[in-house]
């Protein structure tokens, strides 16, 4: 029993060790990039899951903050010479503070205003990126100073950086899931009125969950700006990024720690091969449409996601019987 418990807690060390070892064993350029993107999406999905899965509020602002993170990181690099890979956590913090304001506006009331405000926020940031030409360079974008380092090491650097962010995201997701805070978020998802009645400061909980969620999107955005050495309003606010975060989380299992990771590790490689395989004239459009189809199908036929569905299949044995406890023993056990 203790061995099983140890495995249940420690198993992530094994895949982590493999992922750390991979670049030492001849992982080449294409696969290295594939993993970098998968880590980025997985980290953002885990982040999205904290507001969208644990708390049950659909956020469409994570894309806006991905883009905002790209621009803030990019501007600090080009004006102040602050390396993005060092400032990224700070960029995330700045974006989390902006998220607190957005959350304050949208999360005071229950219901649908959150999804509307978060979508509007994404539009507004993209609009500003496009139209504040003096600062952002408009649709031409910003060319960032290149990282001066060996191009072979460069790939490894981004690989390990986003692996680190992903590990941090998973650690945060586990920590939240086991804390009173996480319990409060799930209570809000299940019944916000009762959660409030039982003394949870629902507005504060929701806003903090949103801020944590946003931190990962903004960090990923900032790092990605350096990865491309370039930011523009189309790349930084590509809707497929938002769709991916949501579909990955939903496919993996919303509200679980590992669901979004599983979803990202399944969906991103599939998508890269799909786009590679499709004729380039319609690849983008078919890619978008198929992702939409997957979203509708998962929502309709497997809303609990792969992880929970699999767990249920495996655990399809007679439900554990309650242990028979003598009545007097049960009552006398209470103080």
């Amino acid at each position: 029993m203790n061995a099983r418990r140890a495995i249940a807690i420690a198993w992530p060390v094994l895949p982590l060790a493999i992922l750390i070892a991979l670049p030492f064993n001849g992982l080449n350029g294409f696969l290295l990039d594939l993993f970098y993107f998968t880590f980025t999406y997985a980290a953002m999905s885990v982040g999205w899951n904290i507001i969208g899965g644990y708390t049950g509020y659909i956020s469409l602002a994570n894309l806006g903050f991905f883009g905002l993170g790209s621009y803030i990181g990019g501007l600090m690099l080009s004006h102040l010479d602050w390396p993005i890979l060092l400032t990224a956590p700070l960029v995330g913090l700045v974006c989390s503070l902006v998220a607190a304001v957005i959350g304050w506006i949208a999360l005071r009331t229950r219901g649908p205003s959150f999804v509307i405000v978060t979508l509007a926020f994404t539009f507004i940031v993209q609009f500003l990126a496009l139209n504040l030409k003096d600062i952002t360079g408009g649709s031409a974008g910003l060319y960032l100073p290149l990282l001066s380092m060996d191009p072979l090491l460069r790939g490894d650097l981004f690989y390990y950086y986003m692996l680190g962010v992903l590990v941090l995201a998973i650690a945060a997701a586990i920590g939240i899931r086991r804390s009173r805070f996480g319990l409060g978020l799930i209570a809000i998802r299940e019944d916000e009125g009762k959660a409030e009645g039982s003394g949870i400061n629902t507005s504060l909980f929701k806003i903090v969950a949103f801020m944590i969620s946003i931190w990962f999107a903004a960090v990923a955005g900032a790092v990605h700006a350096q990865y491309l050495d370039y930011v523009d309003p189309d790349l930084a606010f590509e809707l497929i990024i938002m769709l991916n975060m949501i579909v990955m989380t939903l496919l993996g299992s919303r509200g679980t720690v590992w669901g979004p990771v599983l979803g990202a590790f399944i969906l991103f490689p599939l998508q890269s091969y799909l786009v590679y395989w499709l004729p380039s004239t319609i690849a983008g459009e078919v890619h978008l449409a198929l992702l939409g189809v997957v979203l509708v199908l998962v929502a309709r036929f497997m809303p609990e996601g792969l992880l929970v569905t699999l767990q249920k299949l495996i655990a399809r044995r007679p439900p554990p019987r309650l242990q028979a406890v003598p009545v007097d023993a049960a009552t006398s056990a209470r103080p």
Binding site: P112, V115, V117, A120
Partner: protein, 290 residues
């Protein structure tokens, strides 16, 4: 005089905004669902109308009739076989499903019609009338009049028929409506179908007014959401009023600030309303009457 020009154009475009947003508000009313695909469905109708004009020479105003019927059936089927099962389980799943639908339509349009601009051009597209100093393109009068006629029809349907009464009852209180004998599942399906049909009616009009491309629905859904929030979610009257106000605000501000910045009027008002009065103009009135 410039102000009068902005006012007139604002009212004309506001009529069309009202038509575009009314389906969204009707669907929110019966299902408590923000249909993120609403603008994508409008744009899809614009493309179909463009195709009908191009291939069969069907006038966009006539294609409205065809599209309304087809989209009503399509919408009702979507509600019955996809959304209704999700609504019972978890509203946010239904919301995400509409996001999926929006992306399916966008991707499909891009694959079928490329991602470049399209516009519905008819023989009367370029005519303009002058009334004193105010100039008014004929297209804007046509889209306004057509929008008002369709909205009036929708209003009569909602207020003077048994179906409309049942829809309003379902909007106000689903449980009680069921208790007094309304088949709420069926009514929800029909109301969703009507909401989509209204979107289909707006498609050809929007396509005559503005150029469109596959992902332009994102810009539109932002505007439409601002309208329905300003009017009070689920309130038909509030939506009409908010559409007019935002139409006028946009057209007047175009006179004083660069045209691309005028779109921000929607978002500024959206945030202002949510800070000051989150329930919108008619947020509570919607509970008592239409």
């Amino acid at each position: 005089m410039l102000l009068l020009q902005g006012l007139v154009l604002g009212i004309l475009v506001g009529g069309m905004y009202a038509l575009m947003a009314s389906g969204l508000t009707l669907i929110f009313g019966v299902m408590r669902l923000i249909n993120i695909a609403h603008a994508a469905i409008i744009i899809f109708a614009s493309y179909l109308s463009w195709q009908l004009l191009r291939v069969l020479g069907v006038d966009p105003l006539i294609s409205i009739v065809i599209l309304v019927i087809v989209f009503f059936v399509g919408g009702a089927l979507l509600q019955k076989y996809v959304l209704s099962a999700l609504i019972d389980k978890d509203l946010s799943l239904a919301l995400l499903a509409t996001l999926g639908v929006a992306n399916v339509l966008e991707g499909m349009e891009g694959a079928l019609w490329t991602s470049s601009f399209h516009a519905i051009n008819t023989g009367y597209s370029d005519q303009t009338y002058h009334f004193g100093d105010v100039y008014v393109p004929l297209i804007r009068i046509i889209t306004f009049v057509a929008s008002v006629i369709i909205l009036a029809g929708l209003y009569v349907l909602l207020t003077h028929t048994n179906l409309g009464r049942a829809i309003r009852a379902t909007t106000q209180n689903r449980g009680v409506a069921q208790l007094v004998g309304v088949n709420v599942n069926r009514i929800t399906m029909i109301a969703f179908g009507i909401g989509i049909a209204v979107a289909a009616a707006a498609g050809p009009l929007m396509g005559m007014y503005y150029p469109f491309y596959p992902n332009s629905h994102w810009g539109w859904i932002g505007k439409l959401m601002a309208i329905v929030v300003l009017g009070g979610l689920g309130s038909f009257r509030g939506t009409l009023l908010a559409a007019l106000i935002l139409g006028i605000a946009e057209q007047v501000s175009i006179l004083y600030i660069p045209a691309n910045w005028a779109a921000t009027v929607f978002f500024v008002l959206l945030f202002a309303v949510l800070i000051v009065r989150p329930q919108g103009f008619f947020g509570h009135v919607a509970r008592e009457s239409l």
